[in-house]
């Protein structure tokens, strides 16, 4: 599997993401910069990691979503290339309208940094096919704007079409997200965004590797 990690000024979680992708696939991801106008040829997966692109100015992810490289990411997504956004990456994907809804200020108004229990809600996506629906994974969160919101009609569609990929397990919703939503996918199923950081739970040093199967899922999906 060949992946590319997209960087914007203020992104700071790319090293963990690059390492997780390398552990899972055995290949070093390419890196693209926000001013690039094209992605490297032949990539199977585009990853937008976490951080604080443009200092979260205006709205988290708003300015990154309008940068030159995002036009290439949107075009790739339209062709069916897989796209994963984590944390700020999720915010950027919603701001770019590749995913529905928006990430608002946490309901508790505080930055939350802790390990939550993440429940797999859809086990037939490119990021979850090695897991089972109902599986619960410990997974770190670290964000200030992770409160997922979508209007009722959008929510009904997301829920009805199995597009809620991850939920915070009972009692662990850290940010007030509607329906405990932690991650969603687009209609076509090739774009997934989530607030928690699975790349920080893939080896013993992290306290466990429970989230490694997520990355192995992509490798398997691409090889299939």
């Amino acid at each position: 599997m060949q992946s590319v990690v997209v960087l914007f000024p203020g992104i700071n979680r790319e090293h963990d993401m690059i390492r997780a992708l390398e552990i899972a696939s055995g290949r070093k991801p390419h890196v693209a910069w926000h001013t690039d106008t094209a992605l490297p040829k032949g990539v199977d997966l585009v990853v937008i990691p976490g951080g604080f692109s443009y200092g979260d100015y205006l709205r988290a992810g708003a300015i990154a979503a309008r940068s030159p490289i995002m036009r290439a990411v949107i075009a790739a997504a339209e062709k069916g290339v897989k796209v994963l956004g984590v944390c700020n990456g999720f915010q950027i994907l919603t701001e770019a309208h590749l995913l529905p809804g928006a990430l608002m200020r946490n309901a508790g108004l505080k930055f939350v940094c802790r390990t939550v229990r993440l429940r797999v809600e859809n086990d037939s996506t490119f990021f979850t096919n090695r897991l089972k629906k109902g599986d619960i994974l410990p997974c770190p969160v670290a964000h200030h704007d992770g409160n997922y919101y979508a209007d009722e009609e959008t929510l009904k569609r997301l829920e009805g079409e199995g597009r809620v990929v991850f939920r915070y397990a009972e009692g662990t919703n850290p940010n007030g997200s509607v329906n405990d939503i932690a991650g969603v996918m687009n209609e076509r199923g090739n774009v997934i965004g989530m607030m928690p950081h699975p790349e920080d739970r893939v080896e013993a040093l992290h306290g466990g590797d429970e989230c490694l199967p997520l990355f192995l899922s992509i490798v398997e999906e691409v090889a299939a």
Binding site: L58, R59, A62, I63, R66, T94, E95, P100, G101, A102, M104, R105, N106, A107, G108, L109, N147, Y149, A150, D151, G176
Partner: protein, 80 residues
């Protein structure tokens, strides 16, 4: 010409920051305060002198960047 863009969360969207402000006001002894909502004000200096054209351009700016219309409404005011 100067444009003033007022951006507020849509009425259906909960505003936890507004809620926190309301709590703080109440703690300070201000009574009789109902719902509090917080928004953003963005001012823009424009070369454009035609109000109609300026409004059109600023509207496009709001749709493309300044507001996230999934959760926010915007109002545009122009000053000569």
């Amino acid at each position: 010409m100067k444009a003033i863009v007022k951006i507020m969360l849509r009425p259906a969207v909960l505003d936890p920051q507004g809620k926190a402000i309301a709590h703080a006001l109440s703690a300070l002894g201000f009574s009789g305060v109902g719902e509090v909502r917080q928004g953003k004000l963005i001012t823009l200096e424009l070369d454009e002198t035609d109000a109609e054209k300026a409004r059109e351009t600023v509207k496009e700016m709001c749709e493309k960047l300044l507001a996230n219309t999934v959760i926010e409404d915007y109002e545009i005011e122009l000053e000569a």
